[in-house]
Subunit: 391 residues, 4 copies
């Protein structure tokens, strides 16, 4: 029902799309109530990278993997990057972790104690050193810092401390490196979080300079927040650096991207397409950030990649000329209908074609299951300690 | 239980506090379901100003009144300002209204139709002319603009149109005039609003220049939003221009300030006090913006003024030295306890003293009721058409 | 990609599906800020019914129309029902309105004033008389009753008064009549609503007897509420009487059904299909309840009917055997994949076939536009006063 | 400012108030990101009980302690109860735990696997045996059961399984025993929870019989939920069995009761007072259920007890006669003012008197700090493994 001028351009865009997977999605994860272990879960950074490479092997769309320091701490990061390269993937964003040390009970870079702030800031600098060694471009910063009770600490002082630490990390960046500053409404802080929303992240980025950009985690908003608006707005300001894709019904549920509200994911990807920001050259890092607490991890990541691809395909199929005409003429129902026509299209055959063109199995999940990889890792990864999200 | 170094300073600050009342709060208001009329409601801008002056007469804390154009359109604004002055109040913020003309069905300054955008922008310029005539400093801009359906219009184009109109209004401002840019999550737009959150307002203000500041309406946030954080953050950025105080349990309920969550109002006022921003010289306009749908309007405004005063008194009573000491030492419970000590104090006797010192009745609501004003306006304001919020 | 045992059964179910349209959706509506008038809007109950019949003519799926008393008050209800019948539609649910009289400022059946409670209860009884005259089965009760401020009235007393009024209406019902008791979180009451959630409605229904059932308005829930759970639960309790379909991003936005979250509508309809409750004999009334504030009304209703049909078609296409097998074996991803396979199917061709089989145009919106009906009513309905939602 | 007919009755009610503390609040707790350990945390059920008894020693208001099985599993429950008795406290509610065994990944009593359902149900029966041994009256049931993805399992089937397990547990209850059925919106399940709201809990209780009642955890609701309405409604239905008090800004934050919204806690306690349900003879169990992740645990529990007491004191001070008169006359502002008069009163002096009358220190937190208990347990509880919420 849709008039798309050039289907081959759509297929080309889909074939070029890149989605980054997170090393920690392959480890065990859970809620505060319980972490359920799964067979075959990696025990080392290398095994996580092998799983990420497997996702890439079956999807052809996930050629980089984000690391989390210290969860993925190794002695020789250059060697780790070479290992990844040998498996066909590169090292993506380096994620800092300043929330799991006992010192960080009352905050890391915003802690009232200057010694703890120093330690936390040093960790940020260490992460840039890892970037130097691995060739990563992106320093991803998420601060769980915040307070649980009114009065517990001074909101304004904490912003000043945050700005100081960010400045030091920013100044340490190399020419081709940048900061992705994530925000989150709440959890683990339950009264006030130091970077709670995109506005806070944006304002700090502006203060820092052009190498600082905002990272949108799709699960980190208050109920009712229109995420695609934020996407469009940050693109207009040239401050959108990355996504952490996942989905949620309630809070930061970290479900598979597209699982809870596929229409929302389509609307987000439409703003990307509309701004020509799908092109890797534009520099936006499309990452997954998920917790597969009860489902098998590798196929869950594969499914998530496919969900992002499907949303993107639908976004690419929007008849932009018809849409613009309807919008200009004030045709509320007509414009919405053009938009929904694309959403209602079943794009799975189109993506199957794109995969076949790349020499991939059109059904990545089925191909993965047939591959024997899961059975192999279940058998091989005996002994040692399984990696965990949070360990 | 509280050690406050200087109670006279507290009383002095309370005596100096200024809260601006909105002319429209005295008119009839309601929901989409029904507007319930009340006896004695004003029929003219002059009668609204008379009611505002009455609130000031009994509270001593509300010496200015915000107008809403075209609801308060008159031929001679200078004369209206003199009339207000004669009653002891000045004209405060001039509020624009670009949402009640049939032309604005699909937006005002962001409408896809350039002719309608021109008309809306002209209205903003007209409002500055009103400011010139009345001596007002503040141009308050609230845009109801937005869309109801995905695809209905282009989110990015609308931002460009908004920026264009804001620039034109900004450039028209006199040296001592400024813009207060309000934001609101939703209503009347139900899918995307063009200025939905403080970040959007802030970014436009930065783009515009130093005379553009953010107005926080306490009812315009997503559930769970920490408003005092925004207050602290905007004060740090020197971009907090004003408040629209009211309270809510659900959406933009426009109940009396402090009625739904008095603890939140206290936390907000604490950030004001902590940043020394209570002082009128600091330039923050503390306005009310409420709808008294079912309760008597003048006493409701008086009560709202008193609620803001009580929250302020508690904020002033926080033992800042003890708080800072507890915060620095990481005493979570101790810092919270210092904070709560102030909140749990009954400040009504203190405010009664402040009023008595000013020659006011210590109980403004009772004094109003005894005054006969309500009976007089009920008798006098017969005939004509009652003013309405929205008319 | 889906194995459906019997596609003809699916088509048969779709052909038999019945969706009730609301007379008020054809009138003007808006927000508290503004009601934008539209050309051709009905001026009388008869004209509303004509519009509803037009929706039925093009969709073949909307053979009844709900009335709202007093908005649709006429002298001769039997004649009105005959008029509807002549146009091919029947009179559906009778909606009471106890929120627009000045007396109801502080409530209707829960008002502290016994005289006002009597008046409101009498209106409920009058509505049953209308049902007797029109042959309607369903008495739909929505009470906007509630309070805006803590302490304003006694929560418990109001429940007792509500129970008394409901009992009187219940006892007045004929053998084939029943009550649909709607609930709503908030608006127009902003602190406490007397029937705020399904639990309250359910408990009153149980207290009343078997002829009292719950009506689920899909826009009347707190953020994060899982509506399909409520559907499944009420079906299990045999207390689901009806839906008011519409959609929302924030509060009770009353957008077109399926416009905001088509995946949610699919999940809701799946619970209906799973419980075999689509069959009209099961007695569930699938109504629309929407406000087309800015979009053309008749095509908006047609689109809404189509959206419900599409969600239903997808629900019918779920491979129930495969789903049950995956669920039983604990296959989280596998069960979800079976479910999503149906959702991701483009069912528009299937519904086009169903329409063609019924002698309808496969594209009801286009057929309506070609029909000239809109031009005709725009020309004909000059003079008089347009009907309004809320008037 | 308040006319309270009989202050001695208020003091008597406060002196008689009973609040139950949870054994797990004394253990370590945290979020999915990190559990921060604290010095002196108990290692055994006996040490937890000792801490609970300490809270009672300083508040005089916490004479029972709830246990959690298996966290508090011992060989001889009768001995444990005697140990508690020797310390001046009794064993309160027995909490079941069917969420931390690996078998419960996909649910406990609602699991698709009948063997796992059997195991879970047996645990419920085991808990009743513990009740028999300890003399506990209350079986508290919280089911974390639910699903993370649409389609993962059948919503209706899970209700049937739930009903079956509840029936078996109910039938096992002794004459003086009862079920408290807790509900929770989400977490750890992120799409659908099997007992998500009070309506679901209520309906199951009605199905079970008079010994089944609802437990309201104040942190388990959707944003915007009016909790005091639920309290009033369940009291009217005679189905309110217990509270789990805590407070939250966002989700189930488990902060100290009264810390986030003290006005809400007052409104809740007012409904209790209004229904004469404060009296222990009425059978409502006022429990705390909190996680003190970053603050010292024993003083946090003491503070929480005090917060509930303060809210209760304010509720008792409401001038009921004046309130009823204002309500009856439709005085919105007047009724609200009577209500707020009580809330705005500083009740700390009154509670200090009540404590002094009981021979307690008027400042329980300060008295605890002076007592040396914290230093003693910090020194004594070396070695062994600290108890944890979730372990």
């Amino acid at each position: 029902m849709i008039a798309v001028p050039d289907l081959s351009a759509v297929k080309q865009a889909l074939a070029a799309q890149r989605i980054e997977t997170p090393s920690w999605a392959f480890g065990n994860s859970g809620t505060r109530f319980k972490v359920f272990a799964q067979p075959g879960v990696p025990r080392t950074p290398e095994e996580k990278i092998a799983d990420a490479a497997t996702v890439n092997r079956f999807t052809g769309a996930a050629p980089s993997v984000a690391l989390h320091i210290p969860w993925d701490r190794v002695d020789d990061y250059a060697a780790l990057a070479r290992y990844a390269g040998d498996l066909g993937v590169s090292v993506g964003a380096i994620n800092t972790n300043v929330f799991q040390d006992d010192d960080y009970k009352l905050g890391s870079v915003t802690n009232p104690d200057p010694g703890i702030r120093r330690k936390a800031t040093d960790h940020l600098l260490e992460a840039v050193a890892v970037m130097d060694a691995t060739g990563s471009r992106d320093l991803k910063l998420w601060f769980s810092d915040g307070i649980n009770y009114p009065g517990q600490d001074d909101l304004r002082d904490r912003q000043d401390r945050l700005a100081t630490a960010l400045r030091e990390a920013y100044d340490r960046l190399g020419d081709d490196q940048r900061i992705l500053l994530e925000y989150k409404l709440f959890e683990p802080a339950f009264y006030a979080t130091d970077v709670p929303d995109w506005g806070t992240s944006f304002a700090h980025c502006v203060e820092l300079g052009p190498k600082a950009t905002v990272c949108i985690d799709t699960g980190h908003h208050a109920p009712g927040t229109n995420i695609e608006f934020i996407v469009a707005f940050l693109l207009r300001q040239d401050r959108l650096g990355a996504f952490d894709f996942n989905s949620r019904f309630y809070a930061d549920d970290d479900l598979m991207a597209g699982a809870a509200d596929p229409f929302q994911l389509f609307r987000i990807m439409y703003e990307i397409v509309r701004a020509d920001a799908l092109d890797p050259a534009r520099g936006i890092n499309f990452m997954l950030d998920q917790c597969h607490n009860i489902e098998a991890k590798i196929p869950a990541v594969i499914r998530s990649v496919m969900n992002v691809q499907e949303a993107t395909a639908k976004a690419l199929l929007v008849d932009r000329a018809a849409l613009a005409a309807a919008q200009r003429s004030g045709g509320v129902l007509e414009a919405n209908a053009v938009f929904m026509d694309a959403y209602n299209t079943d794009v799975r055959p189109l993506l199957a074609e794109v995969r076949a063109d790349q020499g991939l199995d059109p059904d990545p999940v089925a191909a993965y299951k047939r591959s024997g990889y899961q059975e192999r890792i279940t058998a091989d990864r005996a002994g040692g300690e399984q990696a965990g999200w949070g360990a």
